[in-house]
Chain length 362, copies 4
C-alpha cells in the first residue's frame, strides 16, 4: 500500500493532484505542544512553487487546514489531520484518461498497478504535490524535536556540475541562514553558480538534478536498533518515498568503497567527560544506532521528468509509438523545493525512532 | 525494535553471535513449495566464512535446522522457523562486559541503547553472523521467485580502487557463472585485481570496502506503490539493515545529480507488442513501481571495522582514553560474503511487494 | 494509538465531536469499484440521530465528502479519504475544560491519558459521532463484499428484558426488511415491545442496553488463520472499538459454557457435493478460520451513560465530590444506531481477512 | 497471517504439535530484568497435561530452552526466543494426510486455508500445544508487570452448570491460593462440585466447557486508547487467539443488556485524595482506557472437541459421509489448563498497552 508509515508515529497520506484535497493524518504525536503556525507556514512556503524562475510559476494555495487533533493551538495527543484544498485544478485539460505516457513519470507504472482506474490528472496520487502535507507533518515534528535540542538543516551539495562539498560540521552550519536561502549552500557564492547551471537547463527546455545533504544536530546516542529498524533503514524508507530521490547514503556513503578500515573507523576519545568520536565518517550512526555525533546523510535527486523537448513515447490508446510534447511550464530544478521535504522526512523518521526508544525505556 | 520486518511476508530475526542459537521465523510464505535444501545450503556456503584468504578462517557450522513450517519437504503455509546453533563460541575469552570500545562497531551505541545489559560477546545481536538466517530466508524466497520467472544476480562493482563498471544488462549476465565466483565480476580478470587489492589491505593489517551491484530480471510491471511503500523504500529498508551497508542507489543513483532531464528520462517504445523503455536509467522503478525492465541497484559496503592495527579508543571501565589491539583474524574484505546477503534481502523485499500486490488484485 | 487499523486494508480515523471535521482514510481498497452513493447515504442515515423518539433529536449533517481515491464514481485503488464537517457544534456551551466527570463516559480516563490536553467538548475524539466515518468505510466494504456474494445483516437480539431469540439461519433472514426497520427484529411485533421498553427508560430519564446479533452469509471457507489473526481476533478487535460494546461472542458464545462436547461439535456431512456442518454452534468459524457456514456473532451494548437523573461525581477543578445533572436530550437507547456500526465493522474486518487471504494465494 | 502480534511488544509464534519444536520470539521486552525461571516453570506446569484425571495423561516435556535475548539470567533488551522440543510425537500414527475431519477441530478449515499442505498431525499449527510458548512469554510479562505493582489472577467462574459467581474484588482474592488450585474457585468447595461435573462428562466419553474470569489489579489509569487500540480491542484480540475461546466480555459484559444507564454507570467519588468509582460495572475500562479500578473480564471456553463418542463426519479421501471414532484419551475439561493461558494473554496485552503508553509520554 502506498500511504501508511510508522509503528509509533503513524502517518496516513491521501489525495491526488487534481482531486478535492490532499492531506495527512498523524497519530501518536505528543499531547500539549503549542504549534507555531507561522513557522509551519514558512516551511510550506519553502516547498511551494513560484518562488523563483527555477520553479514552476504555478500558484497553489498551500495553506493547511487542521481538521482535528489541535485545540486552542495545542496538540491534544489524538490524530492530527490537515488538508490542503486543490484550487488551481483545471482537470478539463486532461481528457478522459492517460494516453501518451510521460517518460520518467509514473503514468505507465500507475496504469498497470491500478488497472487503468488511477487518477491520471496531473500525476494524481503520484504527484509531487503530495509532499505538501508531508512538509506540514514534518514541521510539527521539527518543532517537537527542537524542544529536545535537535535541529535539522540542509544544503544543496550538488546541482548539475556545481558542487558544494563543504563539511557539515556543527560549528560551520548557520541553520537560519540556510533556511533563508533559495538555493542553500555553505560556500558563499555557489548559489549563484547553481542558479546559472539551472538556468542553462531551463533555457534548453531541459531540467537538472543534484544532491541534497542534510545534517541533524543534537541527537542523543541510543536511537535506533540493529537490523530491520536501523536508523538508516527507517530514514531511507522515508527518503526514498520522496518522488525523484534515487539514492541515499550516510556518512561517507559510497565514498566508503575506496576507504580502508583504518581510514573509515571513527576513533573514540573522552572529551569533557563525554565519549565522542574524533572523526564522523559513519555519519552519526553505528550498528544502526545514533552515537551522539551529527547525523549526516545525502539524497540523490533526479532531474524533473517534465521537460519542454519533444520525447519518444507510446500511446496507450493506439498502442503505437508517438511523440510527446509537454506544454506549460514546470520546475527546471526541483532541488530548492525538495530541501524542505527531505528535512520533513528526516524529522518524521527521527521522531518515530525517538518514540520507539521511549517505548523501550526500562 | 530490531528484529521484525514486513506486512505481508513477516520476518522475525533473533540470536546473538555467542548465544545458544541464531534464527529466523518467516510467516506468510506460500503453502506447497518444495524446498531444494541443497541450493539453500549452497547459498549459506557463499556467506560462510573460511572460503578464501580474504575472509576469516573461523569455521562455523551454518547448517540451518528447520523447526516448523515444512512437512515432507514442502512448505505448509504456516510459520517457517529455522535455527543455527552456535558451536564455535568461546565466550570465556570475552570477560565480563564490554570495556574497550571497538571503533566502527556497535559496542558503544549498543551499550547506550540496552543500558549495559546487551550481550557484548562477539558483537552479540549486532554480529554479522545474524545474516546467516537472513540468507536462509532469502534462499526460500529466491526459489519461489524463480518459479515466477524472476532471477537475482550480483557482481562486485567496486572493491577499493578496482572498478567493474560493466553494464548489468540482461543479455550480458551469466547468473550461474557469477554465483560460482568468489569475487563475482562481469569483466574477465577483474577478480584477480580485486583479490590483489584486498590482499594488500590484509597485509597492512587493514580492511577494504566496495560496492555491490544487483540486478533483478523477469519482474512484472506493477509491483510497489507511490510514497511510503515504494519499491525503493521497501528494498532500501532491508538493504540498510545489512551491517556495513552505508549507501543504496537505484538505476543511475547518485549519477542522476549531473544528468539533465533529457538524459535521465527513459523513452517508451512498443517492442513486439510490449511497452518497454529503450534505456533503463531509472533502474526498473518509476514512481515507486516496477516497470518491467531489469531492476538495478547498488549498495556501498564499508570496510570491516575489525583491523589488526592499534586504534584509539575509550575504556568504559576506567572512563579514560586507551589503545585497542584486536587479536585474531577477521575478514579483510567482507564483500564476497555480503553478496549473498544483499541478494537475500532483495528476494525478501520483492516477495513482500509481490504479496502486497496479490492482496490488491481486483 | 487510537486511530489505525489493519495490515491489508488500512484505516485511519480522525476527528473530534466538536472539531472542524471528522473523517477516515481507507487504503488498500480495490481499484475500479463503482460506488453507489445512495446506498452509502442510506447506511449513514441509519446511524444518524433524530430518526425516532428513542434517539437524540440532535440534527447532524452527516453527508460525507470524499476528498480522494474516487474518480468518476469509481475507486482508483489509492487512499480514499472522506470527511464530515461538524456543523451543529455549540462549543461555547462547554466552558474551558472538563470539570464534572460524567460517569460511564471517558472524561476521566481521557483526561489522564492525554494529560489534560484532550478536546473534552462533547466527548471529543471519544464521541460516538466518530462512528459516522466508520459507517462510511463499512458501506464501501459491504458493497465490495456483495459483489463477492457476501451479505451482512443484524437484528436486535435483546433490548432490556425483551428478547428476540430467533435463529439467524440463512433461510429465515430477510435482509432488506431488517435494514428497513428502526428496531430490526426477526419475530414480528417484538419491535413494539422493545420500543415500549426503551420508552419506559426514557420517561424515567434513564437509558437501556441490549444485544445486537449479526449474521454474515455467503462467506467462503478459508478466511482467517489460527492464533493472532483468527477471524474472532480480527473481528472482536474491531467490534470492541465501538463505544458501548462490552462483550463479543461467536456462535454459542457464553452458551458454550454449559454444553458438552457432544452437543457443541458441529457434525460434518456431504450435501450436494459440498462439505457442510449440520449444525452451526461454532458460528461459522473453526480454528480461527471460516468454514463456509453463516458467521454468527453477538455484541453486548451498554446503556448510554448520558442520563437525565442526578448522578454522583467529582469536580476536577475543586477536587471534591459533586452532583452532576446532564442537560439536553440524549439517546435513551443507542441500539438502533449501533446496528449499522456493528455491520460496518463486520464488513471492514471481513475485507481485511479477505485481502490477507489473497496475499497468501499460492 | 497467523503468528504475529503487537506493535510495541512483538510476538512471533511458530511450530506444529508434531514438528521438531514449537516456540516464540518476543521483541521489545525491556533490558535488564532478571528472569525467575522457577516461576516460569511453575506457570508452564499449570498448563501442562497430566496434572489430574481431568486432563490428558499425555506427558510432554515442556521445558522451554531460551535461545536468545537473555545473558546471565537477565534480559538483554533484544529478541527473546524460546523453543520447546516435541518429544512425545508418534507421527507414524497419523497416516499420510488428514482424512476423517474431526468435528469442532480445524481439520477442515485448515485444509482449505493451506491447500492440503498443512501439517495435520495432532492438529499441527492449530494445536493447543502452541499455547505452551504463549505461557512462557506471558510469564515473563507477568514478572515485569509485578515489578510495576500489577497482578493477574483468575478463577473458573463456571464449569458446566456449576457457577462460582463470587465477586473478584481486590480484597477478596488470594492470588497465591488461586494459583495453587487445580480448579481455582473463590467459593470454598465449588472446585469439588466442578470436578464432579467434569468427571461425569469424562465417564460419558464426553467433555465440558465453562467460563474463566480474570482480574487484573494495580493497573494505573491511562492505559489504552479510544477506538482501534482500546484496552478491550487489544485484549480480546489476544484472548480470541486462544483455541476454544468463543466469547469475551468486560465488566458486566452481556449483563449490561438488561441494565439501565443509572444502574450501569459507575459513580465517581474522592477517596483519600484519589478519584475512584464506587462500583466497577465497567470492569476498569472506560472509553477504551483503564480507570485505575480492577480490570475484570471473562472468557467463554467451549468443551474440547475430542470426545470418545462416535461422531458423524466426512472422509476427505472418499468424499463421502463416514463415522469417526477418536481413540486415545484427551482432556474432558480444558479449563484448568486454559487458566494460565488466559492469564498469559492478559499479561502480554497489558504490557503491549503499557509500552504504547510509554511511547506517548509527553
Amino acid at each position: 500500500m502506498s500511504s501508511f508509515f510508522g509503528q509509533h508515529l503513524h502517518l496516513s497520506l491521501f489525495g491526488q493532484s487534481h482531486g478535492e484535497a490532499i492531506g495527512i493524518t498523524m497519530d501518536g504525536f505528543p499531547a500539549g505542544m503549542t504549534i507555531d503556525m507561522e513557522r509551519v507556514a514558512a516551511e510550506m512556503k519553502r516547498r511551494a512553487p513560484g518562488q523563483s524562475s527555477l520553479t514552476t510559476p504555478r500558484k497553489e494555495a498551500d495553506a493547511p487546514e487542521i481538521l482535528s487533533g489541535v485545540l486552542n493551538g495545542r496538540t491534544t495527543g489524538q490524530p492530527i489531520c490537515a488538508i490542503i484544498r486543490n484550487t488551481n485544478t483545471r482537470s478539463k485539460d486532461y481528457g478522459d484518461g492517460v494516453d501518451l505516457l510521460r517518460p520518467g513519470h509514473a503514468d505507465y507504472t500507475g496504469h498497470v498497478r491500478y488497472y487503468g482506474f488511477e487518477d491520471w490528472r496531473g500525476g494524481g496520487h503520484f504527484s509531487g504535490r503530495l509532499t505538501a502535507p508531508i512538509v506540514f507533518a514534518g514541521a510539527l515534528c521539527s518543532q517537537w524535536l527542537e524542544q529536545q535540542g535537535v535541529s535539522i538543516v540542509s544544503h544543496i551539495q550538488r546541482l548539475g556540475n556545481v558542487v558544494d562539498d563543504s563539511l557539515m560540521d556543527a560549528g560551520q552550519v548557520d541553520a537560519a541562514a540556510l533556511k533563508a536561502m533559495h538555493l542553500p549552500v555553505l560556500r558563499a557564492g555557489l548559489d549563484a553558480d547553481m542558479e546559472a547551471e539551472a538556468t542553462r537547463a531551463l533555457q534548453a527546455q531541459d531540467s537538472i538534478g543534484g544532491v541534497i545533504e542534510c545534517g541533524v544536530y543534537g541527537l542523543p546516542a541510543g536511537l535506533g536498533a540493529p537490523f530491520f529498524d536501523s536508523v538508516e533503514s527507517v530514514l531511507s524508507h522515508l527518503l526514498f518515498s520522496v518522488p525523484a530521490v534515487k539514492g541515499v547514503e550516510f556518512g561517507e556513503g559510497f565514498g566508503f568503497a575506496s576507504l580502508l578500515g583504518s581510514q573509515a573507523n571513527d576513533p573514540f576519545r573522552m572529551v569533557e567527560g563525554n565519549i565522542v568520536t574524533t572523526s564522523n565518517h559513519s555519519g552519526g550512526v553505528q550498528g544502526g544506532i545514533t552515537n551522539g555525533m551529527p547525523m549526516i546523510f545525502r539524497c540523490a535527486v533526479r532531474a524533473t521528468p517534465s521537460i519542454g523537448q519533444t520525447q519518444q513515447t507510446v500511446s496507450l490508446k493506439t498502442g503505437e509509438n508517438a511523440d510527446l510534447n509537454i506544454h506549460g511550464r514546470h520546475d527546471p530544478c526541483i532541488l530548492p523545493r525538495a530541501v524542505p521535504v527531505i528535512e520533513a522526512m528526516a524529522a518524521i523518521g527521527i521522531m518515530e525512532l525517538w518514540k520507539e526508544r521511549q517505548a523501550c525505556v526500562r
